[in-house]
């Protein structure tokens, strides 16, 4: 049986203890974004809507920035709360909660990839892409597998 199964409008999540343990690395990872100057993850997660118009971007950032931060914090809180429940067995997520998982896992993947310096496609082919094996790459590969499963389960929901 897979990790995720959509039925009756909710998503059933079944994770083994090792998987829950791996996913508990996500909160610390995302909390670290932007703590150090020049963190590429912060740049990747804060895309400019108006990259060539400073005035428009400043206004967009003023209006949307706090909302984006708040939404992301809520998404993360939703995921971490249900992840805690998943320690005790299968959990059922609403579609909104499943969406939060999807977005948070993606943020974590982008954070890892940007810090690993991944700028070209095909990074999974490590033998010819010079992405050296590391705990961060292992977590990125794992989160990619989880996200792939989650997308597959949610594809019938929309």
């Amino acid at each position: 049986m897979g990790r995720f199964r959509l039925r009756a409008g909710s998503l059933e999540v079944r994770l083994g203890p090792d998987e829950v343990q791996a996913l508990t690395l996500v909160p610390g990872l995302l909390a670290s974004v932007g703590r150090e100057a020049g963190d590429p993850a912060a740049e990747r997660l804060e895309v400019a809507a108006y990259p060539d118009d400073d005035e428009a971007q400043a206004e967009y950032g003023r209006l949307m920035g706090p909302e984006l931060d708040g939404d992301r914090l809520r998404d993360r809180s939703t995921m971490y709360s249900s992840l805690d429940d998943a320690r005790r067995g299968p959990v059922n997520l609403s579609l909104a909660e499943a969406d939060a998982w999807l977005m948070v896992i993606n943020e974590a993947r982008l954070t890892l990839a940007s810090r690993l310096g991944i700028e070209e496609e095909g990074w999974g082919l490590s033998e010819d892409r010079q992405v050296l094996p590391s705990p961060e790459l292992a977590l990125l590969v794992y989160l990619t597998e989880v996200q792939d499963d989650l997308i597959g389960a949610l594809s019938d929901a929309y």
């Binding site: 990747r44 997660l45 895309v47 400019a48 809507a49 108006y50 990259p51 060539d52 118009d53 967009y60 949307m64 909302e67 984006l68 939404d71 992301r72 969406d99 999807l102 977005m103 993606n106 943020e107 993947r109 982008l110 990839a113 940007s114 991944i118 700028e119 070209e120 496609e121 095909g122 990074w123 999974g124 082919l125 590969v141 794992y142 990619t144 597998e145 996200q147 792939d148 997308i151 597959g152 949610l154 594809s155 929309y158």
Partner: protein
Amino acid sequence: MSLSKGRNGLASSVSAAPGTIRRPSTRDRSDLDRGWNVVVWNDPVNLMSYVVLVFRKVFGYSEEKATRLMLEVHYEGRSVVSTSPRERAEMDCYTLHRHALWATLERV
């Protein structure tokens, strides 16, 4: 974007085609304000399947249309995924940013 599926029990991410990332630019935009395009740019990490799902969810596009736009992003480097008045375009761009897609706005 990456196409991911486990091989030999391991997840991997493989490129459907080699390519470099085109950086967003809005300098070529017209002075005529006929609306605003929401542009999604290629990146090497977001999964193709994720991008398709986001397009379907955010814009209500069919699987076919979402896939066509995703492939345009992947092969052309960018795709105009919607056109609307500025306020609506900004909200759509915001929603795509919330999903961590590389989205920008440009005048039509």
